[in-house]
């Protein structure tokens, strides 16, 4: 199973602040600041909890399948920095 199949959600300790380049995500628990480097990533992150998997969220957000691999890599990294988590 890859991260594309995982049911993810935004970590409840995380606040997201939209910025022109994407957004800043701050985890109040581990005090880490993470950059979401594209507005599409922000949309996807915010809707993760409404869909059964990351891939389903990408579909719902109208992200072209040619970009799914790069989203998979990005969300793998957001998982390890505890911005998102499995539900």
């Amino acid at each position: 199973m890859t991260v594309l199949d995982a049911a993810l959600e935004l970590n409840p300790q995380v606040a997201i602040r939209p910025e022109p380049f994407g957004a800043l995500a701050y985890n109040y628990g581990n005090r880490r600041l993470v950059f979401l480097k594209h507005p599409d990533m922000v949309r996807v992150a915010q809707q993760l909890g409404d869909h059964p998997s990351l891939q389903a969220t990408l579909v719902a957000c109208d992200i072209s399948p040619t970009r799914w691999n790069s989203f998979a890599t990005a969300f793998e990294s957001l998982k390890s920095s505890e911005v998102v988590r499995e539900r």
Binding site: A15, R17, P18, E19, P20, F21, G22, L24, Y26, Y28, R31, L33, F35, K37, H38
Partner: protein, 387 residues
């Protein structure tokens, strides 16, 4: 998006600062020789509790995630806990810097009971002689007592904050061991020639050989994946010209991602440039802090692409970014040229024809007058006042 393009976006400014420092008061029980804000005496124009809360409301609306509180000694303010609790209640995490004088057992327990609060105890030597020469007599014991109290209260990993100087650079391993013994996190930052630091800079700033020593030490100890990596506040990016980059954004954030609010509400580009030339406005002006951050002429100018000036022909510019604006300004160097601690030696003041006497002085000085009683038994009222 690559790191480079992210940095170029950040240089264009953000909707609100990432890292905001707020000096709550110019009052301080100490008179450190390198104090960035020349603190000592309270300024009568200090923001009131109500004004400070209004600023916090604004920072909440701007989604500022956390603030760095400093001073002076912030715990001198009688409403210190009230303001910290108010900030946390509004979802703004607080990191505050203190010399520890007021962290007794009871205060340590109170601090330990609060979420989203970080404490940073300043210490500039691993022994009283080295520390007290910079921070004043008794300040080493004061800091260690605060650390003991925080540990006993179960605060968890507080921070020990060190300004690295010519005299404590050989103690880096000892600082790390001290932090480890408390389960604390070590923070090492760069000395700046700001505030009273302008006067002590030439005696305290590390030599060129020591710069390399610092760089090599930081390379080993700042691994972000370590459990408690040594923090630097991104203050050593001028050393990146020595090789591999240290962790961090590697850019001057002044007016772009950081700024300073001083005790009377004036907003400066960064904590190291309390000078009229870098004052962008005041939180007391119409429109408050947001107006200053988003629209002040100074901040808009800082967000424009900056010229590398004399550094443009140097192959290290991409790595070091020309160093620190404040360090150049207060040593009298041009802002679009090398840092006074340029590792290639291009910032040498003499070679640049800088007359140290003409370097800009801080616009404000809250240093306490030093009263030395002369021949107390003979002359009843002879005092020397040095401001």
């Amino acid at each position: 998006m690559s790191v480079e393009s992210l940095v170029s976006q950040l240089k264009g400014g953000l909707d609100a600062p990432i890292c905001l420092t707020w000096e709550l008061t110019y009052a301080c029980n100490l008179q450190c020789v390198h104090c960035l804000s020349s603190s000592g005496q309270r300024d009568p124009r200090e923001l009131t509790t109500a004004e400070a809360k209004q600023v916090l409301d604004e920072l909440h609306d701007l989604q500022v995630f956390y603030i760095n509180i400093g001073g002076g000694e912030p715990m001198v303010r009688r409403d210190f806990f009230e303001l910290v609790e108010y900030a946390i209640g509004r979802g703004i995490g607080v990191k505050f810097s203190t010399n520890g004088a007021f962290i007794d057992a009871e205060k340590a327990r109170r601090l330990a009971s609060m979420d989203y609060l970080d404490v940073q105890i300043s210490l500039d030597g691993t022994d009283a002689v080295t520390n007290d020469a910079v921070r004043g007599e008794g300040s080493y014991d004061m800091a260690r007592r605060a650390m003991d109290n925080l540990k006993a209260a179960g605060f968890g990993p507080f921070k020990i904050s060190v300004v690295v100087t010519r005299h404590n650079v050989d103690q880096l391993d000892e600082f790390k061991a001290l932090a480890d013994s408390y389960g604390a996190q070590l923070r090492i930052t760069r000395l700046r020639p700001s505030g009273r630091g302008a006067d002590s800079w030439h005696d305290l700033h590390p030599t060129n050989a020591q710069q390399r020593q610092i760089y090599n030490w930081l390379l080993i100890h700042t691994d972000p994946d370590a459990e408690l990596p040594v923090l630097t506040g991104d203050s050593f990016f001028h050393l990146n010209a020595l090789g591999e980059s240290l962790p961090g954004l590697n850019m001057c954030g002044a007016g772009r991602v950081v700024c300073l609010i001083d005790p009377i509400g004036d907003v400066y580009a960064c904590p190291f440039v309390i000078h009229d030339e870098f004052k962008a406005g005041s939180v007391r002006d119409a429109g408050g802090f947001a107006q200053v951050w988003k629209h002040s002429d100074l901040f808009l100018e800082l967000r424009e692409p900056q010229s590398a000036g004399a550094c443009s022909s140097c192959g290290s510019y991409d790595a070091c970014q020309g160093g620190c604006m404040a360090a150049k300004f207060f040593t009298g160097l041009p802002l679009d040229g090398p840092d006074p601690e340029c590792v290639n030696g291009y910032g040498d003041l003499t070679a640049n024809g800088v007359d140290a006497a003409l370097a800009p002085k801080p616009s404000m000085d809250h240093t306490k007058p030093v009263r030395i009683t002369l021949g107390a038994t003979r002359t009843p009222s002879a005092t020397l006042v040095r401001s």
